[in-house]
Symmetry: C2
Subunit: 294 residues, 2 copies
């Protein structure tokens, strides 16, 4: 999959699919995701990122509706369908899905490769009344070692916690895929960059990782989503996007794993990850002093 | 100091002094810092932030030069001078200083109040060949409980480590003062926002704290500094700045501690600090798995 055959070193193209899933219309969402994945692969992508809850939509009326739409992973229909397309096209897919595991529901993302199912990330930080549908993720921050490089995942509100990106980077992630359903943040200036975009930029720069965010668009049961998907380079500058706020589109960017890893060495003295003062962070982020009233 | 007498609640004005210290010209730097502090106080500031190494300049030829310029804290001349002006004006001052403690040097910031010396922060993450002059900070991330609110400090490259802001916020900081000497980052687009600015924005938003960055300007022994001081609100949006890249100037912003603290509660389910998954972060940020090759 890596384009070593082109003599350019181990580079690959990542694509972020900005699309509009429709709540409850799983067959149609899945079919449209396959079309977009095929289009991205035709245009050279070896890794395709879909939005959060790409197969079901986001605004469940209640846990019962989420439960009915959720599927086991990797044996449910949606994951099997994505496995088939990834194998057929010889690519990787990271896709947001409502996961059912026994009686438990998770807001998850499946990672799929040309040879099948790779693993699952379960959203760690639940936003708003997602808390009434889903369990908080119980798989930590896994990093998947693939032919393309080491892939980690964060979903939407997970990106508000710099710890998630840091953990992924400390475990060796080269690229962090972010299926997301960003909602408007108060205070956004018209025409200004979205706060979600700046969080991704800061995290990519601080950690020396590529961050590829695939957001949804559209308004669903009164909830607006903001689009503005983007792909940030490991130096923090934009590789692609931000995409528009309303339209479905696909972003593409070439990634060079060697360049990502070497970007962490800044000068003769500094390295973004090795300069961490774990001796200082440990006591607080570890067992945790009782914080002052916050 | 807090303007409770105005009936507006416990608000105060923070000022960031963007100035150009000259290497080795300690008397002149100190005198100019006093002028600027007086000006800021006349315009209503109760908390004034000066740049990193405001009394000495930054580009030491070697450790010997740094050693000669460094002073004990709080008994050295620079700190005593700032203590005097803070007492006279009834304000708080956070000022970058080359600190000598026995044979050890630190790139420090002193925190001073109307009643005298409050405490010291010692830069935790040393940038480039600062490593040959200074010891890495050994005081962790202190948070100083003052009449204005809880004040923490980070210096320049410390801001590249989201852990620093997180630790300060977890310990209850309301405002984080950042004396800094930002240098240009590769890849900056002309007219685009500085990466250092985006790191401050992301940290303020993620943690629900005000971040007040006072940068220097000018070119010193061949090293350019970028100005672009800024004050970021606890929702991540700009309160003041970014300042210009070249000119000395003063930024002002009003801070409301009640509003800062309540900004962390986002909705009925979410709180920026309480939503942290310490159960997930601990094992990695604690004793620390051996990371993959990074």
């Amino acid at each position: 999959v890596a384009n070593t055959e082109h003599g350019t070193g181990p580079t690959f193209v990542v694509a972020c699919i900005q699309m509009e899933p429709r709540i409850g219309e799983k067959q149609s969402n899945l079919a449209r995701s396959i079309e977009r994945i095929e289009q991205a692969a035709r245009q050279g992508a070896s890794l395709v990122v879909l939005p959060e809850l790409a197969n079901t939509g986001y605004m469940f009326t209640d846990r019962r509706e989420a439960f009915e739409l959720a599927e086991p992973v990797p044996d449910g229909e949606s994951t099997r369908t994505w496995i088939d397309v990834a194998a057929r096209l010889g690519i990787y897919v990271v896709a947001g899905i409502a996961e059912r595991d026994g009686d438990r529901l998770f807001n998850s993302a499946v990672v799929i490769g040309p040879k099948g199912y790779v693993g699952t990330f379960r959203k760690l930080h639940l936003w708003n009344d997602e808390n009434t549908c889903f369990e908080p993720g119980d798989k930590g921050v896994p990093v998947f070692d693939t032919e393309l490089g080491r892939i980690a995942v964060a979903i939407c509100y997970d990106g508000w916690f710099p710890e998630v990106y840091r953990l992924a980077a400390a475990k060796g992630a080269d690229i962090i895929c972010v299926p997301t359903n960003w909602v408007p943040m108060p205070g956004q200036v018209a025409g200004g960059m979205a706060m979600a975009n700046m969080l991704a930029i800061a995290a990519a720069h601080s950690n020396g990782v590529v961050i590829a965010c695939a957001d949804r668009v559209g308004t669903e049961r009164g909830q607006e989503f903001i689009g503005q998907s983007l792909i940030v380079d490991s130096d923090g500058w934009l590789k692609a996007g931000p995409a528009s706020a309303q339209r479905e589109e696909i972003l593409f960017a070439e990634c060079d794993v060697g360049r990502i890893r070497s970007s962490r060495r800044i000068n003769a003295f500094n390295h973004k990850l090795r300069d961490r003062r774990t001796d200082v962070y440990d006591p607080m982020l570890g067992s945790g002093e009782t914080p002052a009233s916050v």
